[in-house]
Symmetry: C2
Subunit: 210 residues, 2 copies
């Protein structure tokens, strides 16, 4: 298909597509004449992935490029690919907490990971986020929320097994890696909206007007 | 304590505290002389809550004011307070999907809620987010991810029971409502970082370099 049709199929404006081509996010089409390129299904899929990263996960263009290069690498081990996507997708948030609360939280997290038998790199950004979150709970007088850490971790393990089972079923390595990226982004929105709905429902039953 | 001590205790600069006082986010201190006000523990707690809302949840100041007014209301039913905080805290994200995918997703979500026996208002923003997410999964060729919707919902119910149990134990209605707001924000970061760590661990075991 031509660039105009590609735009129609993906709902991405032609100038935006041209920008992605220039930036190397989207591979060039096949030249059908000196002035005309032709695009296929791979371009449609790649464009949707780019939009998901930029619109949903609000990943900067430079990071999108890095994730895509990693996806396209045939030599990088799958686990490294996933790790690279994870690092790009972990939100970095400023969190206020005391040094004391941070030290306690670090100990709590280290013990949790040992108890669960998780294999986690010490520099994983999600590790820092988890420590920050628990420290902030403590600082905000909500330390009781982290008492249930193991039960939360157990529930999370359950749907992570599902995440992995769902992506493992993808036929090609390409599709598997793509599925991990999309699953990480959309899975988060899925879980957080389910949680809000479940909370609303339990709150309605417990504190609603009957 | 004086405003300088309040600033020190909370790590919030004096001009910012004055801004919150002017905007009505923070109740005025008690006048100890015509030019001097005195602040107490309630101010410390309230300031920390404001910072959590603004820094972590990136809630706009006007919405923070709305949430705090709702928290301070003695007459608004607890369930309404929680609902108001939820609406303010639900992220609205632009999601690309086809009309067909949206219609299918709406049916899927309606059936899920019926099966789980959840009580949810049709205009809950999390409902729209959930539909959008499932439709986007479909559009991005990852429809298989939503096959496990019931199992995700079941795992989510489990930690929502924990959320509610944790906040129900708060001694006063004030503290309970505050705990719900903080729990909603920090709980989300807690779960998402646990999920990334669990994914990393399972991925390392399955696809790592051994």
């Amino acid at each position: 298909m031509r660039i105009g049709e590609l735009s129609k199929a993906t709902d991405v404006p032609v100038p935006t597509i041209k920008y992605y081509l220039r930036e190397g996010l989207l591979p060039a089409g096949e030249l059908s004449s000196p002035n005309q390129a032709s695009y296929g299904e791979t371009h449609v899929r790649r464009l949707r992935l780019i939009r998901a990263l930029i619109e949903l996960a609000q990943v900067p263009v430079a990071t999108v490029k890095e994730i895509l290069e990693s996806l396209d690498s045939d030599t990088e081990p799958l686990h490294e690919q996933i790790g690279r996507a994870h690092r790009a997708l972990t939100p970095t948030r400023r969190l206020t907490s005391t040094d004391e609360a941070r030290a306690a939280a670090t100990a709590q997290v280290t013990e949790l990971i040992e108890r669960r038998g998780w294999t986690v790199e010490p520099e994983a950004p999600a590790l820092a986020t988890l420590v920050d979150t628990i420290a902030a709970m403590q600082t905000l007088g909500q330390g009781h929320l982290s008492e249930y850490l193991d039960t939360y971790a157990e529930a999370v393990e359950k749907f992570t097994e599902l995440d992995i089972a769902a992506v493992s079923a993808r036929p090609t390595r390409d599709q598997l890696a793509e599925s991990v990226v999309i699953g990480t982004i959309l899975g988060e929105t899925l879980i957080s909206s389910l949680r809000l709905l479940a909370q609303e429902s339990i709150s309605a039953k417990r504190w609603g007007r009957g």
